[in-house]
């Protein structure tokens, strides 16, 4: 399995502020996808954003954006204008395309708390 590292177990941010979550991964592959998933207290795993490694442009979904640095094997998530509903655990995940099994390797997660 690929190694995905999220070095920040917990982060706290004031409502309306910006927070950035870090993710690094280890791979020798050139073709892969990266994902951020959100898990609120309801436990549901929700896709936040997806990045294809062959695309240089960073993915954006509303208030969520990534900084994808392929050479550094880094994939950070920025949450802008944080809202109380952003309180959740966030998981970074890696998918290798070469093997055709499309398995995901996950980091251990970062718990984000948005303060009112």
């Amino acid at each position: 399995a690929q190694t995905v590292t999220q070095s920040q177990p917990e982060m706290s941010v004031q409502e309306a502020e910006t927070v950035t979550l870090s993710c690094t991964y280890d791979t020798s592959e050139n073709n892969y996808y990266l994902f951020w998933y959100k898990q609120p207290p309801s436990r549901q795993m929700i896709l936040v954003i997806r990045q294809e490694a062959y695309k240089q442009q960073n993915a954006t979904e509303n208030r969520f954006s990534v900084n994808f640095q392929k050479a550094a094997k880094s994939f950070s998530l920025k949450i802008s204008d944080s809202q109380l509903g952003d309180t959740a655990m966030y998981f970074c995940a890696f998918m290798k395309l070469k093997s055709n099994d499309y398995k995901l390797s996950f980091g251990a997660g970062t718990t984000v708390t948005v303060r009112a």
Binding site: V4, M45, R50, A93, D101, L104
Partner: protein, 112 residues
Amino acid sequence: DAGITQSPRHKVTETGTPVTLRCHQTENHRYMYWYRQDPGHGLRLIHYSYGVKDTDKGEVSDGYSVSRSKTEDFLLTLESATSSQTSVYFCAIKEELSDTQYFGPGTRLTVL
């Protein structure tokens, strides 16, 4: 919502008993996955399926078996449950066009 349901949503059982968890999808996806979630580990792959009767192991497959006799159902069986299998279990499907996995609501299993 990718049309994925899991049953049961909660289960408490005793060590040594067999347990079967069911994942059901309504959109005819070819790939289905079972993960377990434990504190400090994120989600780890147990088994996956790439078609009816086609399954393979993930990184934490010991003590688990799976079956897929029809496209819509993917069953995870704990032959003889142990306390180390207390976890939250997630099923996922892979959407064909985007290669993105979408998850079911999860099953919390407690083995006493």
